[in-house]
Amino acid sequence: MSQTQQQDETKDEALGFFDKPNNVKWILWVFYALCIVLVALDFVVHRHIYLDYEKIPTFYALYGFLACVLLVVAAKWLRLLIMRDEQYYDKNEEEKPFENEGSN
């Protein structure tokens, strides 16, 4: 492992490109613009339609957006169910060193 973990020397450096909020904002605007363009194109370009859902205008955009929101929300709920602390599996092994681990 290299020893470059210098925690407190950041102030010496010049601020990077992404450190400036304006830059980030600018990038995001470009991104939003592209999104709009893509939606607009949906109405311009003739898509091949294989399935019924695809007839919905901007189906892919909507689906992508909703899918991700759904995914994240579901994952958050999932966390409640399955999240444990990092030492979860190693806890009991301290009592009896080197036994039964991975026994299938």
């Binding site: 091949h48 399935l51 999932l78 444990r84």
Partner: protein, 559 residues
């Protein structure tokens, strides 16, 4: 100058056997093995069944060449080249040796012609790869390695059982289409499925890969699962069940990936997700689908390898890959950052990147096969992939909030390997015909049309938009140090608990048993007492016996 039909695993094994005895610098020469081996395969191999060796009463075919095996043969040589390049700086010869053996075993499995050979190389895959985990040399890695090995051997013994039952019922050991009919085929199916990380059998992957060494994970991500995909393509193409399994595989891991903190574990989940696409393709079983599956396997090796390499570089420099504690690394590791983004774009199937040209084949085949709902699932998964692998990995590792870490750029050999992989990703993405020409089945697919490009871009951009929006709203789940319960729970928690309580019970039982025995013994008459007999007693006994005898004598007479 080429050796015709040389089984490709041989140079790897020879190299691996020599390496431990050569000086440290010799590891640079191992690079020649995949290069020369790959060229040899390209120029020297002809379709057909070449070498047969005899083990006991069985003829084991170790060089069976057809387009499918050649495709994977090339792929594994490329993967081996990348992985070896990536690991050149490592001075621990164990890893290189294991890596060579591992790659060789994968090649052996791909080119073997019957189930015995498959079994042998199947087990060798397990046996050689586990060192890449153990070589991490931490207590956690040791145990993870053992668990990994158990799972791999489980797959091996299932394959063995299936093979033997198959052999016993059909008399055939051919490594060809088997189809899901008998118990034997089910056993083989599950065996392949285990290595292919089917749901509920996947935990070895997410458990083991994150514990591997930085370079080890690159090797691991390339071979084991792809051999399984290859074997499935050989034995179970067109098996309906695989479509459903594949669809499940694409979807469930992304939930885990979103909340997982260890970025290499995220990659491991995303590996399962990508495997899902391939499994779907095999399950559909049309030429397009199979081509898609194979092509996707080809690409996946490279871009997943690339992602593992970037994370490996971070791990190498920082010492961990916990999303919660990373961020802002782009400042000092810009090249790695770029490579990572290329990998992320590839895996998310951005147009012009390699994932796009193969994933879309599977998707198209899915529609053709009429699995509408499953197609929707795959689409959902595609969006999800972008979400966790395409955005989450680069974002949390290299951007996000500045963690203050200022690691050095990755070593040159790593950069070169990453560059090579990135170049391949882009090359295949922009010029897919070369890869398409290698595909085993008839192929007329054309990835780049307007509809497809547009819809894919819409999907990806709006997924990204969702990410941005969720982040802005603060809804995005923060990275937390944690462990998420997965199938491992069964054998890491439940079984040991059961074992522990059983032991407690049996030992209690044993103790009480011993106590009871001691008690019984103490109640038993003491036999050691010296008898003080009396003559009278004996005389009495004599009289008694006499009386009895006389009585009996009379009685018997009377009767």
């Amino acid at each position: 100058m080429w050796i015709a039909n040389l089984p490709p695993f041989i140079p790897f094994f020879i190299g691996a056997l020599l390496l431990p005895f050569l000086p440290n610098k010799a590891r640079y020469f191992t690079l020649l093995i995949p290069i020369l081996g790959g060229l040899n395969l390209f120029f020297g191999a002809q379709d057909g069944n070449w070498h047969v060796i005899k083990l006991l009463e069985f003829d084991v075919q170790i060089m069976r060449v057809d387009k499918l095996s050649l495709m994977f043969g090339y792929l594994f040589h490329i993967a081996a080249f990348i992985a070896i390049t990536y690991s050149l700086h490592v001075k621990d010869k164990l890893q290189q040796t294991a890596g060579l053996l591992y790659a060789g075993s994968a090649l052996g499995a791909v080119f073997c012609g019957d189930l015995i050979g498959l079994f042998i190389f199947w087990e060798l895959l397990a046996l050689t790869s586990v060192w890449l985990i153990w070589a991490r040399r931490t207590e956690k890695a040791n145990k993870a390695g053992v668990r990994y090995l158990i799972f791999q051997v489980l797959s091996g013994v299932l394959l063995l059982a299936g093979t033997l039952v198959h052999y016993q019922t059909t008399g055939s050991l051919a490594f060809d289409f088997i189809g899901l009919e008998s118990v034997a085929s089910w056993l083989i199916f599950i065996a392949l499925g285990t290595k292919c990380a089917f749901p509920f059998l996947h935990s070895w992957l997410t458990d083991g890969y994150p514990e591997a060494t930085p370079t080890g994970a690159v090797f691991l991500s390339a071979f084991t699962t792809k051999v399984a995909v290859f074997a499935l393509a050989r034995t179970f193409p067109g098996t309906e069940l695989l479509v459903y399994i594949g669809a499940a595989m694409t979807c469930f891991p992304i939930f885990y990936a979103v909340i997982e903190n260890d970025l290499r574990k995220v990659l491991a989940y995303s590996l399962i997700n990508q495997l899902g696409f391939m499994v779907c393709g095999i399950g559909i079983g049309t030429a397009l689908a199979l081509n898609g599956a194979v092509a996707h396997a080809f690409n996946d090796v490279i871009f997943k390898g690339l992602l593992f390499m970037t994370m490996g570089a971070v791990l190498h420099r920082v010492g961990h890959v916990m999303g919660s504690d990373l961020g802002g690394l782009h400042k000092t590791m810009p090249k790695t950052t770029i490579f990572c983004i290329v990998g992320a774009a590839s895996i998310s199937a951005f147009p012009l990147f390699s994932g796009f040209v193969s994933k879309s084949m599977v998707m198209a085949a899915m529609i053709e096969a009429g699995h509408e709902y499953l197609w929707l699932m795959l689409l959902f998964a595609s969006a999800g992939v972008f979400h966790h692998a395409g955005i989450k990995i680069p974002f949390f590792a290299f951007f996000a909030h500045d963690s203050g870490l200022r690691p050095k750029e990755a070593p040159t050999n790593m950069l070169f390997a990453m560059f090579f992989a990135s170049a391949l990703c882009i090359f295949i993405g922009t010029y897919p015909d070369l890869m398409y020409s290698l595909l085993p089945w008839e192929n007329t697919y054309q990835p780049y049309d307007i509809t497809h490009t547009l819809t894919q871009l819409q999907l990806l951009f709006f997924s990204a938009l969702a990410f941005v929006w969720l982040n802005k709203m603060g809804l995005y789940p923060p990275e937390l140090r944690s462990v998420n319960i997965d199938m491992e729970y069964l054998y890491r928690k439940m079984l040991p608990e059961i074992g522990r309580s059983t032991r407690k019970a049996t030992s209690a039982f044993g103790t009480s048993g011993r106590l009871m025995f001691t008690k019984m013994v103490s109640y038993a008459p003491r036999m050691s007492k010296t008898s003080s007999y009396s003559t009278a007693q004996t005389a009495k006994r004599m009289a008694a016996i006499l009386a009895i005898m006389l009585l009996l004598g009379y009685v018997t007479k009377m009767i």
